[in-house]
Amino acid sequence: MKADPHGVLTGTHFMDGDHACCEGALAAGARFAAGYPITPSTEVVERFAARVPTVGGTFIQMEDELAASIALQGGVWGGAKAFTVTSGPGFSLMMEHIGYAAMTETPCVFVDVQRGGPSTGLPTLPAQADMMQARWGSHGDYEIIALCPNSPQECFDLTIRAFNLAEEFRVPVMFMMDEVVGHMTEKVVIPPADQIEVTPRKHTHKSIEDYLPYATNGDLVPEMAHAGEGYKFHVTGLTHDERGYPNMTPQTQDKLVRRLQNKIRVAADRICLFEEDRLEDADVVVVSYGITSRVAQRAIDAGRARGLRVGKLRLITAWPFPDKKIVELAARVKAFVVPELNLGQMVREVERAAAGKAKTLAVTHAGGGVHNPDEILNAIVEASRC
């Protein structure tokens, strides 16, 4: 379906990534947000708090991130599209509820504008060190989706995609910004509402008698009902059967948890987005995401100017990880260079998928700034000699 025009601020704007993320959420149909202030993410909900009373929605500032991350799920079961916004310390507090959303299949979006960590770290400075936390932070086995914008325009576009994927797969989607992208101001073009596709809730058409909250119909994603519609359904974070009833057997656990994993895995090709450039003749591939991809671009251009056969693979989807693309490239390139604002997170995935067929060079940075492009260029030069 098309976006509700009430939420779409059509036009050409000069805005930062945090504000663009908020506009993306409104365009996607988000009408409920619960948040707790934390730098460098707060501007997203500040804008939402100003905008949402004029489009028929609610923002509430909760008492902490634990509350925010579960209040938004109450909002979803009440019928709204909902999200929360945070940064590292708050993201850590939200982990239990990412697991609850995965287990109860509550479609929602968690925005994490990454800053330096661990702990309080660097509140106003960038990092990309929550990437593994986004994937593995809650206990137990589950799958999530994570997207990494590298510009305010993408903060708008990909926030819509985050909501759409959340609804399609009934999964929490992590929107992994970083401080630089969040605070960077650039041109953002917001199209007319009739040019924005939004995925509606996968609401059941079944009668009350026939409805089983966690039964699936071939595509591994169950149909949803909302509170107040007469379905009288039960939702629990306990292991549950198709009726949504707790069931503590290994068989029910196996069936449920494998489905939670498989519903994402079987669709990974469709979910994964990446940008590639000059890979046709490449010996070396720079794999990057978020703000680091823009620094890497300069290094790649400089490498090409020197005659090095270097190409670009930018991850737009971090999770599920695009294994297939790395496997394909590993068979024909010498090496991957992976710069990121952490001490080596996504590089482990590249290395795993490459499985020794191509070398992998990490270009680490502990956060607080961005790489010097020369550091990446040096790694490209070194990789070319492999």
Binding site: T54, V55, I60, E63, I70, G78, P200, K232, H234
Partner: protein
């Protein structure tokens, strides 16, 4: 439809997921008794069950959500109130009940309890207080009276206990009552009264845990506890909540302590937006009238 005149049918049965019985609660546990009073209050108040949602946290009382035939949410430990807050704000037409235990609501969820009362979110909170963490084996709770023996205070507790009516009164609840599981009719009446109020209502129900609390403190079985509740309870309607704290084996002040009116969160929110935004303010639409399409067949 429910036939309360047909004596062959338990009037409470239509409120329960009978296909989930037997429940997990121990013999002598009071939680089932509170559910019975809750169901009777729903009948008495003619509450529309389709627009009623029940939210629980974790623990023995947290399992209530799984046994009632309502839209029911068994959430995470301590977070029933913020979940319920989101549910109510996204769909203001819902009647939202939070049904959970003392440990869940006042320890791990204590901050949410205070803030929901302060905001005066329109929630009916039923707190079954068995004075202990029961699901995990009888550990000390913030409500455990001083000198009681628990699995984590085997030589007796020495922390001061929370007086929950005083806490929520101070934070701004509009309705505060306490009963025991001996007072089934009074409890049902209080729940009915809470449904008639708009705002944050809190009903504490003192309830036995014969398996872990009564046994360890040599207070006898379920029946002995009923006798204790009968003999030591004193109705003190309107009592200052600062004076209704509980002691080990002491008097239990029961009754309606607080019943006042002040605008609830959503009423205040709308008023503020209308004042600031005028015609630009758009109220949260009724979900049934929204244009959310369905994609599945």
């Amino acid at each position: 439809m429910l036939n309360v005149l047909d004596e062959t049918v338990n009037p409470v049965e239509p409120f329960l997921r009978s296909d989930r019985m037997p429940h997990i609660w121990c013999p002598g546990c009071g939680i089932g008794t509170t559910v019975n009073s809750f169901a009777r209050a729903l009948i008495e108040s003619k509450i529309d069950l389709e627009s009623l949602a029940l939210v629980s946290g974790i623990g023995c009382t947290g399992r209530v959500a799984g046994y009632v035939k309502l839209d029911s949410f068994h959430t995470t430990h301590g977070r029933a109130i913020p979940f319920a807050t989101g549910l109510k704000l996204a769909n203001p037409k819902l009647n939202v009940v939070v049904y959970s235990g003392d440990g869940d609501l006042s320890a791990i969820g204590g901050n949410h309890l205070i803030h929901a009362a302060r905001r005066n979110i329109d929630l009916k909170v039923i707190c079954v207080n068995n004075l202990i963490y029961a699901m995990t084996g009888g550990q000390t709770a913030p409500t455990t009276p001083g000198h009681a023996t628990t699995s984590t205070n085997p030589y007796g507790t020495f922390e001061p206990a929370f007086n929950l009516p005083h806490l929520v009164d101070a934070a701004g609840a509009v309705y505060v009552a306490r009963w025991t599981t001996f007072h089934v009719r009074q409890l049902a009446r209080s729940i009915s009264e809470a449904f008639a109020k708009k705002g944050f209502s809190f009903i504490e129900v003192i309830s036995p845990c014969p398996t872990l609390y009564q046994r360890r403190n040599k207070m006898g079985d379920g029946l002995d506890t009923m006798k204790y509740y009968k003999e030591k309870s004193k109705v003190k309607n309107g009592a200052p909540t600062g004076e209704v704290g509980l002691t080990l084996n002491g008097e239990i002040a029961v009754g309606k302590f607080v019943d006042r009116d002040r605008p609830d969160y959503q009423t205040m929110m709308r008023a503020q937006y209308v004042e600031a935004l005028g015609d630009r303010y758009v109220d949260v639409p009724d979900p049934e009238e929204s244009d959310m399409e369905c994609v599945c067949g």
